[in-house]
Amino acid sequence: MKVVEINDVFRTYHDTEVEVKAVNGVTLSFEKGDFAVIVGPSGSGKTTLLNLIGGLDQPTGGEIIVAGHRLSELRPSELIDFRMEHVGFVFQSYNLIPVLTAEENVGFILSLQKWPKEKRKARTQEMLSAVGLSDRHKSRPSQLSGGQQQRVAVARALAARPEFILADEPTANLDSKSAETLLDIMVKLNKDEKMTFIFSTHDIRVMKRARRVITLEDGRVVSDEKVNHR
């Protein structure tokens, strides 16, 4: 089942008099349960493509359909609701809310979605347990290591059961051990919950775990390979 369809998408920026084609005619699709990475050199359009898929940015050409929604047809306020309901984001710099505890951060989107308190609490505990941080539920981000913060970010992204997770360089700020732990967790969630993960990364450790590697150069897809891990 296709979760994301990208049809001949362009994203062009006009920087003074120079036209920059950050995404240049990309056509891709992602199936439910994909564990895909988008790789490529800096400036190849990885993050731009992720922003387009997540509805944070609008293409200047082409069409993106996510979970049945044509993103170009959604108004800005509908795009925000779309993101809340269908997309989970994991950012390079964790981006947790510093004044909230780990469990409050995880439960934040659930509260935006008006989940009942008990249900919210149960789901929060479930997700913190899934990322191995049950015992740190009362800790604030400043009391957690980088790896732990990123695990909380993953739990937050997954809590509301989105269609897929977009992770932009999620391991870039982590040490090897923390990165491996995080990837173990994401692989397990992908397997157990059939959660679709789409990464943009330079990290070889992420590429090694991916089942699909898409390479971008100058905003174009230059390769799209399936990888079998035995």
């Binding site: 997540g54 944070l56 306020s77 950012f91 981006n95 809310i97 989107i109």
Partner: protein, 475 residues
């Protein structure tokens, strides 16, 4: 959750938030306390005007107030009294006989308004008797062969009935009030000397004391030297109903002290019967009939009713007589509100600045919140709540401090005697007992919340202008 985050955000940068909160606290306290002090002055002035000088409603002969002619009496006072008795809200009524005259002693004289009163009735209706200066006698209680007069301190001074003498008792009084021994020693050369006016006493000790000592102890010295010989006599001269000059000797039964210099220097009260006898005014004829109401708030509604019922007479409320005071009373809440709006507007700039800093340093976080699905309305509400929390915490702290200080000073009072001459010349007390109504705090709470909301608009708009992609890329 939004409320909780907003509250926690306020305390992210404690120093910055506490600085703004402290500024709001001090601003609100300063505003509220200043208004409570002003309010007390006005409340005391109104209280004095109604309870000591004017009553709520006065009925006069149409020409009396402009001419003060003794012939301008109310022709049918029984009708006036009957109308007032039947008017709902009126509680007490009495008549007054009023003549213009001259009060004199061997040392001085002054123009006065001599008011003949029903002593018992006035005692029930007014509180002027409570203004008696201790040691000067009583409110018409003296059993003397001569007629009694109850006069103001200012008039007594003008007639030189009050003098200033530094007696041994005066020195003892100074000692008990903690006046430095060195100062008392310096004043010794003045012992026993009589000064006919306060000015002369001041001139005498100014040559003996340093400016600092005068500033510290001047008021104590005047109070200690204040001297009155009980039972002093004055001569009152005025015209009778036939236009012939007449008068009589009156013994001072007591001296009153109010906050109104003009009232004190002009008003002199004598028993109504004696004034009738001396002027030849018929029994039952009055120049003025005055009435008190159940509540001051009834003044505006009852006065027109009485006026309509008594078309041939001049019917005036105290507000129409003291128009300046009435205007202040009627617009006091608006005046307070404008005053507070000015203070809060100044504080709003501090809040806007703080909120703007807070928003700009959270660019990435706000971008993230927008990215994960927090819509514009929620972000706006969050920023708005942060600003409201900042202003209300400071506002409530300011109000709490004000309430405590007002409660204390409302009990102990604030003595502004050093500046009293200026204030009392306009009828305002120099001893303030700050007070302010609970309704003012309600208005203030609303104003503070509005300040918080208005202060948040610009920073919140800035937050909403953030593009999540650019905001996330920002750091």
């Amino acid at each position: 959750m939004i409320t909780s985050i907003a509250w926690k955000n306020v305390w992210r940068n404690k120093t910055r938030s506490l600085t703004v909160i402290a500024a709001v606290t001090v601003g609100v306290f300063a505003g509220v306390f200043a208004m409570a002090a002003i309010n007390s002055s006005i409340v005391q002035r109104i209280d004095a005007a109604v309870n000591e000088e004017l009553a709520h409603i006065q009925v006069n002969h149409k020409e009396f107030r402009s001419s003060s002619d003794i012939q301008n009496v109310i022709q049918d006072p029984s009708t006036v009294i009957s109308v007032l008795e039947k008017t709902p809200g009126v509680t007490d009524i009495t008549g007054r006989v009023i003549v213009a005259g001259i009060a004199s002693t061997s040392a001085g004289s002054a123009g006065v308004e001599i008011t003949g009163i029903d002593i018992q009735k006035e005692l029930e209706m007014f509180t002027l008797s409570q203004r008696l200066i201790t040691g000067t006698g009583s409110y018409f209680g003296a059993d003397t062969k001569l007629n009694s007069a109850f006069i103001g301190e200012k008039l007594a001074k003008e007639l030189y009935i009050i003098r200033y003498i530094l007696t041994p008792e005066a020195f003892q009084s100074l000692e008990s009030k903690g006046v430095a021994t060195s100062v008392i020693e310096k004043l010794k050369p003045l012992e026993g000397e009589r000064f006919t006016t306060e000015k002369k006493l001041t001139a005498a000790y100014t040559g003996l004391l340093s400016p600092r000592e005068i500033k510290m102890y001047g008021m104590n010295i005047k109070e200690a030297a204040w001297s009155y010989r009980e039972g002093s006599r004055i001569i009152l001269t005025f015209l009778d109903v036939n236009g012939h000059q007449t008068g009589g000797a009156f013994r001072i039964s007591g001296i009153f002290r109010t906050n109104n210099d003009l009232f004190e220097s002009m008003s002199l009260f004598v028993p109504e019967d004696e004034l009738r006898r001396l002027t030849g005014l018929e029994e039952g004829h009055y120049h003025r009939v005055i009435a008190r109401l159940e509540d001051d708030d009834l003044t505006n509604s009852v006065t027109p009713v009485v006026r309509e019922a008594l078309p041939g007479l001049e019917v005036m409320s105290w507000k129409e007589i003291q128009t300046d005071l009435a205007m202040i009373t009627d617009y006091i809440n608006q005046i307070y509100a404008i005053f507070m709006v000015i203070i809060l507007a100044a504080l709003a700039f501090g809040i806007v600045n703080t909120m703007l800093m807070s928003v700009l340093e959270r660019t990435r976080e706000l971008g993230m919140l927008s990215a994960i699905g927090m819509n514009r309305r929620r972000i706006f509400v969050m920023i708005m709540l942060e600003s409201i929390f900042l202003s209300t915490v400071g506002g409530f702290a300011g109000m709490a401090v004000s309430a405590v200080v007002i409660a204390i000073t409302g009990h102990t009072g604030i003595n502004l005697s050093k500046y009293s001459e200026g204030m009392e010349a306009f009828g305002y007390s120099a001893h303030l007992f700050p007070t302010i109504g609970a309704d003012f705090f309600i208005i203030l709470t609303v104003l503070i919340v509005i300040t918080g909301i208005l202060s948040a608009i610009y920073p919140a708009r800035k937050a909403l202008q953030l593009n999540p992609v650019e905001a996330l890329r920002g750091e």
